[in-house]
Amino acid sequence: MKAGKNTGLLPAGIHYLSGNEAAAEGALAAGCRYYAGYPITPSSDIMERIAFRLPEVGGVFIQMEDEIASICSVIGASWAGLKAMTATSGPGFSLMMEAVGYSAFTETPIVIIDVQRAGPGTGQATRVGSGDIMQAKWGSHGDYQVVAYAPWSVQEMFNFTVRAFNMAERYRVPAFVLADEAVGHVREKISIPESLDIVHRKKKPGAEPFHTADPDGVPPMPAFGEGECLLVTGSTHDGYGFRKSDSPEVHTRLVSRLNAKITEHRSEIVDVEKHYMEDDPEVAVLCYGFTARSALFAVGKLRTEGLRVGLLRLKTLWPFPDEAVREAGARAGKIFVPEMNMGQVAGEAMKYVRCEVVPHCQTDGEVIKPAAIADGIRRIYHGARP
């Protein structure tokens, strides 16, 4: 797809934007043509930009009466054939959780950008946090999968929003950008590429919209108004959408496929970045989001001091990059996990590694500074292993 003035999209080249502005532009570039949202700090500026930018590309914007209505109308718009999204922060994300499960179970592509603030409760509305990592995976009831990316820069706010749309459409799944207040509001240079790889919905008239024998596990998705007489339901359903809520077989088949279509494609979804990991470091820092910027600075500094320290940055949080974390655990003596929560990713990492995992938790609404990470690493660093 060509980006350029004539399309209403931001022209290719260098721009100076905030993370939230870049996410809005990424959504348009990905083909998003429906946005419904409700004001909430620190995500509102995504909606404000989308509100005037979507009509410029022929899309529909509506401010709904609450977050529940926002996410539900996004799902309705998605079934009517448009790529659709919303953005929110913790309290709004909590309200959306029932519909996230509905989206997963009805295989409706949607994108949510969660600009995380410090919780729980109303918490620190204007302050940074990353306490929604586990909620993003487990917030709705039942067993389902989601896709979630954690950007660390304005560039990645753009790129990961595009990628979230691609994954949502490719796998018919709710996809999240788990941003945080800091990456949402930082302003820096970004480069908009000449062209982007954009995924479009697979169509196959007459095919079952909710079952496929194809090992890929993702059925084609028709839209309302195409004459398919669609039956969409959040109750247990067969391939054509007929409710079979008392059938153990249909339920098992459906839930198994919905989980497998993501877990079996983990390698296509998961993305990580390694720094200084070649020499089997004494300590590997496992990090994501804005915190990874501080962590990389700290690790670089410790390297100049001669400490063997590496870094694994998770660009994807869900499905969890289990292989990369397992490998880091096998190479490193210890895993150090700085995060703006009480150890959510540290706990997840413990499932996959045998070495010691040391959480570094900070939940005061401030970004974690490089010095705090460097000090934390020094405390657990005991010198080269024999």
Binding site: A69, C72, I75, C229, V232
Partner: protein, 255 residues
């Protein structure tokens, strides 16, 4: 006539899920008759429903696009679909608990925004599917599973509610007034903007059995006796009117 309507039903469905004597079966037939009479292209009709017995009226029976959603949220789902594809004739069919209690906020906001959709509210004055609990529409004094001593709270007057919220067409009839219901649905769908059709339905299984209206005939007879035409209200003793249900058109933008 009835067999002609079969073309609008999915052939895979042989029976309805409704209890014997449920008014929703009548309403289902009335919706089919009304929509059929309008001569619309069924490939461009979208039926959206929430959760509850009435939500099963369109889904899975009607051979059109159907979206069976979350409890209370049919209207925002419908809003998204309608805005994304304005060609869709969008009809919400759901119950009183779904649309006016858990989903009450969405009802008034869709009316306020004047979204071009028709909401058909099957009002049986109780939560039928979950076992007969108190609803926001249960009349004062009526017994339910959660008000065994009689409901102490006033019910919503749904007509006053949607009128105040800005609906451009709104009417109330009972399933015991079938021709009026058909007419109301036809008018509502024909209106551009937000329209609301409240249909008083009967739930002998949950509402009836606790209130001496156990037989389907008794509850329909009750509705027939209590429903009076709006035009006749002036001639009725105000004391008597308290026990009656006023039916008719409460908002008609053209009038």
């Amino acid at each position: 006539m009835a067999r002609d309507l079969e073309e609008h039903l999915r052939p895979e469905i042989k029976i309805t899920p409704f209890c014997a004597g449920c008014g929703h079966g009548i309403l289902m037939g009335l919706i089919l008759r009304a929509v059929d009479a309008l001569g619309l292209d069924w490939r461009e009709i979208l039926f959206v429903s929430g959760i509850g017995c009435a939500a099963w009226i369109p889904s899975p029976h009607f051979k059109a696009d159907t979206l069976h959603t979350l409890h209370g949220r049919a209207i925002p789902f419908a809003t998204g679909a309608k805005l994304a594809n304005p060609k869709l004739t969008t009809i919400v069919v759901s119950g009183d608990g779904d649309l006016t209690s858990i989903g009450g906020n969405h009802l008034i906001h869709a009316a306020r925004r004047n979204i071009d959709m028709t909401v058909i509210c099957a009002n049986n004055m109780i939560y039928g599917m979950t076992g007969g609990q108190l609803a926001s529409t249960t009349p004062v004094g009526m017994k339910t599973a959660t008000s065994l001593g009689g409901n102490p709270y006033r019910p919503f007057d749904l007509q006053a509610l949607v009128k105040a919220a800005g609906a451009v067409y709104s009417c109330r009839y009972a399933v015991a007034q079938p021709l009026a219901v058909i007419d109301g649905i036809k008018k509502a769908i024909g209106v551009k903007g937000f329209s609301f059709v409240e249909v008083l339905s009967s739930c002998p299984a949950q509402y009836g059995r606790r209130n001496n209206l156990e037989s389907p005939a008794a509850i329909l007879e009750m509705l027939r006796k209590r429903c009076v035409r709006k035009e006749d209200v002036d001639r009725i003793d105000p004391e008597k009117l308290k026990d009656l249900i006023v039916t008719g058109e409460f908002v008609n933008g053209d009038a």
